[in-house]
C-alpha cells in the first residue's frame, strides 16, 4: 500500500514540476466560471443553487480530463521509464492505482479551487448546501470515471495525442450512452435488454441524479465499478503491451 502512495506522490509532484498543472487549473477555473455565468445564466435564473455550475461539468471534463490522463502511461512507455518502474519491487496493480490516484487527487484539487462560487452563492442567497456537497461528490466520482477511461486509453498507445483522442471518443460515448445519438446505433438490431443496459451506462443520467442531491447507492456504485473496470483493463493492457 505504501508503494501506491509513493508512486502517487511522485506522479502528483510531476504535474507541478512543469507548467501543465498550473495551465490546467487556470483553464479549468476559467471555463467553469464562463460556462456558469454566461451559458448557465447564474444570475438571471434568480435561484440560489449551483445547478448552472455543475450542469457543465460533464462537458468540461470531456476535454479536460483526457488532457490529464493522456500522459499517464503513454509517456512512461515512450520514455521507457515504465521498465524502470515495473522492475522495482512494486506490483503492476500498485503502479496503476498509484498513478490513477495522483490524477484523481489533482482533479480534486482543481475542483476544490472552485470554492469561490460556493461562497458567492451562499453570499447571495441561502442554497441547500447538502445538495451542493452531493453534487461535488458526484462531480468528483464522474471525474474518476473519466480518468479511469483515460488511463486505459493511455495504456493502449505510446502516443499522447492518440491517447487523448481515444479518451475523448470513449468518454463521449459513455456520457451520451442514454441518448439517441448512441442508442440509435443499436436500436435496429440489438435486443431491448442490451439497449437498456447500454442506456444505464450513461454518465449523464447517473451524474444528474447525484447533482440533484440524491445520493443513491446505485449511482455511487456505478461510478466506482466503472473506475474499477477501466483500471483493471489498464493493468491487463499494460501487462500485454508494456514492452512494445
Amino acid at each position: 500500500m505504501h508503494h501506491t502512495v509513493t508512486i502517487a506522490k511522485r506522479e502528483l509532484a510531476g504535474y507541478f514540476a512543469t507548467p501543465v498543472a498550473y495551465v490546467f487549473i487556470l483553464i479549468f477555473l476559467l471555463l467553469a466560471s464562463a460556462f456558469t455565468f454566461y451559458l448557465g445564466g447564474f444570475y438571471e435564473r434568480g435561484q440560489a443553487d449551483l445547478a448552472p455550475f455543475f450542469n457543465f461539468h460533464p462537458w468540461l471534463y470531456l476535454f479536460l480530463i483526457p488532457a490529464i490522463s493522456m500522459r499517464l502511461w503513454a509517456e512512461e512507455r515512450k520514455s521507457g521509464s515504465v521498465e524502470l518502474l515495473l522492475t522495482q519491487p512494486v506490483t503492476l496493480w500498485q503502479a496503476v492505482l498509484g498513478k490513477f490516484l495522483a490524477a484523481w487527487a489533482f482533479t480534486a484539487l482543481a475542483l476544490a479551487l472552485t470554492f469561490p462560487i460556493w461562497i458567492t452563492v451562499n453570499y447571495l442567497g441561502s442554497p441547500d448546501n447538502g445538495v451542493i456537497l452531493a453534487a461535488y461528490i458526484g462531480s468528483l466520482l464522474m471525474a474518476g470515471g473519466f480518468l479511469a477511461i483515460g488511463s486505459c486509453m493511455s495504456a493502449l498507445t505510446r502516443n499522447q495525442v492518440v491517447a487523448f483522442i481515444l479518451a475523448v471518443v470513449v468518454c463521449f460515448a459513455f456520457l451520451l450512452a442514454g441518448f439517441p445519438l448512441v442508442l440509435d446505433a443499436f436500436h435496429a438490431w440489438a435486443p431491448q435488454v442490451l439497449i437498456d443496459a447500454i442506456a444505464s451506462l450513461s454518465f449523464l443520467t447517473h451524474f444528474e441524479a447525484i447533482s440533484k442531491g440524491v445520493l443513491d447507492v446505485r449511482d455511487l456504485l456505478y461510478f466506482v465499478l466503472t473506475m474499477a473496470f477501466f483500471l483493471i483493463a489498464t493493468a491487463i493492457i499494460l501487462d500485454v503491451r508494456k514492452s512494445e
Binding site: T6, G80, Q88, P89
Partner: protein, 307 residues
C-alpha cells in the same frame, strides 16, 4: 546468484530468446554479448521481471521471477537499456523516490544515498532536473538507481553506452570494485569491455547461446591465438621477411596488414611460433619495430560465431 532454465520468448513470427540456460554466481561478472537484435535485452528484461517468458524459468537468489516477483526484484538492481528515468525530477528527488520504493529508511537510507551520490560523482548535479543532464550523467543516475539498495545481483544493460572514455573507465572500475561479493551481468557489444571487466562471457546470436567461456577461452578460439605479429622498420625488407615466415614449418599462413608494414604469422594448430620467428629475424637481420605474441582477437571470434 542468477539462474535461468530454458528461458524462451516467442513473438508471433519470431523466437527472440530460445532456450537460454545459464547460471551466474557471486564473484562472477558475466558479459552478455551479441549483435544488435540477438535477444540480449529481451533476456535481461525477462530476468528482471519486466516481460513474462513464454517458456522456461529465471530466478534471482532462489526466488522465481514469476512466482515470487517482489522477492526476486528486491534482490536485484537493474539498469534498463537506455537508462530511462523521470526527466522532470531532480537527481536527488529521483534517488529519494527509488529509496522509498526500495524501503530504505533511517540512517541506512541516508548513508546509501550519500555513498551512491559520491561514488557516481552526482553531488554537483543533485539539484538539477534529469532532463538537463548530459548523456553521461543520465547513465550514471541510472547506475546509481540500480545499486542504491546494495543488491546482491546486478543486471546492467549497456552500462557504458554513450559514455566518453574517462567515464567508461570510471564505470568499469566501479563494476570491478563491486564484483567480489555480487553477481553481475553486463550486456554490451563493446568487446574491449569484456576484457576489461568480465570473468566470463556468453555470446548470444538469434536468441541462442552460441558460446559460454572465459574471455581468455574465447580469445583462444581465434585463429590469431598464439599468432606472432611483427612490424618492420624498413619496408624494403617486407618481401624477404614474408618469405622467411612462410618457410617456417610451424606457420599455417602469413597475413599483411593494409599499410603493408605489419606481418602476422598464424601458427598451425597447437604450435608455438615466437622462438622460431625470433630466430629468423636475428639470422636474417630484419629491423624490427615491434614483435608481439597475440592472445587472440575477440572481435574475430565474435564475428565468426555470430554470423
Amino acid at each position: 546468484m542468477i539462474k535461468t532454465e530454458r528461458l524462451t520468448k516467442r513473438y508471433e513470427s519470431l523466437t527472440a530468446v530460445d532456450h537460454v540456460s545459464f547460471e551466474a554466481r557471486p564473484g562472477e561478472v558475466l558479459g552478455f554479448l551479441g549483435p544488435n537484435g540477438a535477444g540480449k535485452t529481451t533476456t535481461m528484461r525477462m530476468i528482471a521481471g519486466f516481460i513474462a517468458p513464454t517458456g522456461g524459468t529465471a530466478s534471482i537468489c532462489g526466488h522465481d521471477i514469476e512466482r515470487e516477483p517482489l522477492a526476486a526484484k528486491a534482490k536485484l538492481g537493474y539498469l534498463p537499456e537506455g537508462a530511462p528515468s523521470y526527466g522532470e525530477m531532480s537527481v536527488r528527488g529521483f534517488l529519494e523516490f527509488i529509496a522509498d520504493l526500495r524501503d530504505l529508511t533511517g540512517a541506512a537510507r541516508r548513508i546509501r544515498l550519500e555513498q551512491v551520490t559520491e561514488r557516481l560523482g552526482l553531488g554537483s548535479v543533485a539539484a538539477q532536473t534529469i532532463d538537463t543532464l548530459s548523456k553521461g550523467f543520465r547513465r550514471r543516475v541510472g547506475i546509481a538507481q540500480a545499486i542504491l539498495h546494495d543488491p546482491p545481483v546486478l543486471i546492467l544493460d549497456e552500462p557504458t553506452d554513450g559514455l566518453d572514455p574517462n567515464q567508461k573507465h570510471e564505470v568499469r572500475a566501479l563494476i570491478n570494485e563491486m564484483a567480489a561479493e555480487k553477481t553481475i551481468v553486463v550486456s554490451t557489444h563493446i568487446l574491449e569491455e569484456v576484457e576489461a571487466v568480465c570473468t566470463r562471457a556468453i555470446i548470444i546470436a538469434r536468441g541462442r547461446i552460441v558460446a559460454d567461456d572465459t574471455p581468455q577461452g574465447l580469445a583462444a578460439r581465434s585463429r590469431y591465438h598464439n599468432a606472432v605479429s611483427l612490424r618492420l622498420g624498413r619496408p624494403e625488407q617486407l618481401a624477404a621477411a614474408r618469405a622467411a615466415l612462410v618457410a617456417l614449418p610451424q606457420v599455417e599462413s602469413v597475413e599483411t596488414d593494409a599499410q603493408g608494414l605489419r606481418l602476422t604469422a598464424l601458427p598451425r594448430a597447437g604450435a608455438a611460433l615466437l622462438a622460431d620467428v625470433n630466430a629468423i629475424t636475428a639470422r636474417d637481420g630484419f629491423a624490427l619495430q615491434a614483435l608481439e605474441l597475440e592472445s587472440g582477437r575477440l572481435d574475430e571470434v565474435f564475428r565468426s560465431i555470430t554470423t
